[in-house]
Amino acid sequence: MTPIIQTQNLVKRYGTYTALDQVSVSIPKGSIFGLLGPNGAGKTSLIRIITQITAPDEGTVLFDGKPLAPADVARIGYLPEERGLYKKAKVGEQLLYFAQLKGMSKAEALEKTKKWFIRLDIKDWWNKNVEELSKGMAQKVQFVATVLHEPSFIILDEPFSGFDPVNSDVIRDEILRLHDQGSTILFSTHRMDTVEELCSHVVLIDKARKVLDGSTKDIRNQFKSHRYSVETKEPINFSNFPWQPETMNVEKEEFYASSFKLVDGQSPNELVADVIQHAEILGFREEMPSFHDIFVQVVSREPETV
């Protein structure tokens, strides 16, 4: 299947500063895609090129297999990190305006806006000025503005910031619902829990370059530490144990925890077999790396290029 977005060797320079350096990203249709990277890495530059806010100096962007065209803005929804609405304009009118700018007819925009107002239970906001809304309320309006024109590709830059946990869940459910309906979602976020919970693919950009790319599963496997933790009913007697532990017999409420790092050729089954002979096993699992760890590991390993 053709990816919905495919960037090829994108380069973007601002004067002597290079914001993007040969970045090629392929976003599969129907995926929830995480765009990660430290501050100033070039995420926003990439997004702005995909949304056609700026043009790349080199490279191309394919949208659904064809070079990105001005008309494609109607199929892309973008929620920028810095939220912005006209403060002195009415919520309803403003949403209609944004939808029309995306190419919707007024009648269609009106119908869709009303649906969203009912869905998010914000009906009585229609005639309010944005300046009367709280930050969270304005965020909700902004979210509606992003998805109102039913884009097939939705870019969300830190979509949960500013929301309380309840509204955060509401928005997350809406995002998942849009995804189920066939939209591809691009998350740009620093919240690794969001990435772990939602994303099927990630790209990590650091210092204008792509440093990591793949499905979350593959990346986790790639960064596996081959570390296993064993929980036993009684402490293991390590003086007489063939495996070298990293931590031993940490006393927990109901068990003792030990961990082992396996090297090539060693199989976890052999480890389990040996443990069984020394103690009663209550739990055994592989320690998977969190995206937080992967992020920190990748970003700090990058040599300073400045």
Partner: protein
């Protein structure tokens, strides 16, 4: 194209719906009407009658002072002291005019005593009457008949005639001056008023961060153009409403006042009668109103619309670029200077241009697009050669295409640039991105 229309519509409606627009629209004509009506009304309103007791020690003037609606002169005798005392006892609206000794050849010592300062009009009217009386006495004593002097009153009125390919036409420098100045000044006001509205509009979108949402749907240039045109339409709408309302108010108020004053022309009552008679004569013969007809108003209005819009487009693009380049009003100041200098320069030079509308200076200032909207408009009623007008119009069109193009480049980069103090060098760099 459709999107530009949407933007224009929003820019227009959001401004027209504002309370401040309504207030400005209503207040403008009221102010204008106020300026034209109130002085007339003040002069016309039933002034309280003032009784002036005249103690004339010379005996030359007391009987000559003419009473009218507002002032009644009463001749009294007796000592000055006594007169002053009775003035103190008398009620309001009483004055005492004391004219000192004179035989008519010297200027007497004249004083007015009153409870409060007398109006300038009254003082002038008395001075005028005494002056002409003294003149008569002095003429007589020099052996000249005052009636003869009255008869000899040459009245020179030079008629200017424009002679060109279209034949002879009665010209009118006075009317041309008024029309030219008025038009030039209107353009000046319009550029500043609405140019700065474009700037604050751009700045608002930038600081609100709405701009990023919008330019993910439309191109920055479309947004800028939509805003400029939208605001221009607000300006035109306001201007049109002002014209209609001003005309309405002045006509209605004028009609009402005419009725009240027994259909006497207001001008006769205000000021002193001598001057107003003179004025009336002029008006009847070849007055300003008649002169105005000699200025080709249709063509002036057409040119006015052109320079009005051209000047606005040229400058508002630059205002938009400034708005995009800065984060707040304070930073905007430094970039405002190069924009405002040519406009203010033009309006300052206007008085010199109008004295010599065909000078070299006038020519160049009316061809350079940064000053031409104001300067050419001032020259138009003086009917400069057509090739000059054409050259000026073409250069203005090229000028605003140029500024819009440059502004578009600055705008495109500027609206996405936050928290950075921008220098001219930076702007230059943006233009070449």
């Amino acid at each position: 194209m459709n999107k530009i229309l949407l933007i224009i519509e929003r820019e227009f409606l959001s401004r027209v719906k504002k309370k401040s627009f309504l207030i400005m629209t209503v207040l403008g004509p009221i102010l204008f009407a106020g300026i034209t009506i109130i002085p007339t009304w003040l002069a016309m309103r039933d002034a309280t009658q003032t009784t002036v007791s005249v103690l004339d020690k010379s005996g030359l003037f007391a009987k000559r002072l003419k009473s009218n609606k507002e002032t009644i002169f009463v001749s009294i005798d007796g000592s000055e002291e006594k007169a002053k005392q009775s003035l103190m006892k008398a009620g309001e609206h009483q004055m005492l005019l004391v004219i000192g000794e004179t035989n008519g050849n010297t200027t007497p010592d004249i004083r007015i005593f009153s409870e409060s300062n007398p109006s300038l009009d009254l003082v002038h009217s008395i001075e005028g009457q005494i002056n002409s009386e003294l003149k008569n006495v002095q003429l007589k004593s020099s052996g000249i008949d005052p009636a003869l002097v009255e008869k000899i009153k040459p009245d020179v009125d030079i008629k200017t005639t424009v002679l060109n390919d279209e034949g002879e036409k009665e010209g009118s420098s006075a009317a041309a001056t008024i029309v030219g100045f008025g038009a030039g000044f209107l353009i000046y006001i319009f550029i500043f008023l609405y140019g700065s509205q474009v700037m604050t509009g751009v700045m608002e979108e930038k600081t609100n961060r709405v701009v990023e949402v919008i330019i993910s749907s439309v191109r920055p240039f479309e947004l800028m153009l939509g805003k400029i045109v939208g605001v221009a339409m607000v300006g035109l709408a306001q201007f049109l409403l002002w014209m209609i309302l001003s005309y309405g108010i002045t006509t209605v108020a004028g009609a009402v006042m005419m009725k009240q004053s027994d259909s006497k022309p207001a001008i006769e009552i205000s000021g002193n009668p001598e001057a107003s008679k003179e004025m009336k004569k002029k008006m009847g013969k070849s007055g300003i109103l008649k002169e105005l007809q000699n200025v080709n108003l249709v063509s002036v209005v057409m040119y006015f619309m052109f320079y009005f819009l051209g000047g606005y487009l040229l400058y508002s693009a630059m205002f938009a670029a400034v708005g995009a380049a800065v984060d707040n009003q304070q930073d905007a100041q430094q970039f405002m200077l190069p924009i405002t200098i040519p406009i203010i320069g033009a309006i300052v030079m206007a008085q010199f241009i109008i004295k010599d509308p065909n000078s070299n200076l006038a020519f160049w200032m009316s061809v350079i697009p940064f000053t031409s909207p104001i300067i050419m408009m001032i020259r138009i009623p003086f009917e400069p050669p057509f090739w000059q007008i054409l050259l000026s119009m073409v250069s203005l069109i090229l000028g605003f295409l140029g500024t819009t193009w440059m502004a578009g480049k600055i705008y495109r980069v500027g609206i996405l640039m936050y928290g950075k103090k921008v220098s001219y060098k930076e702007l230059w760099k943006w233009m070449r991105y």
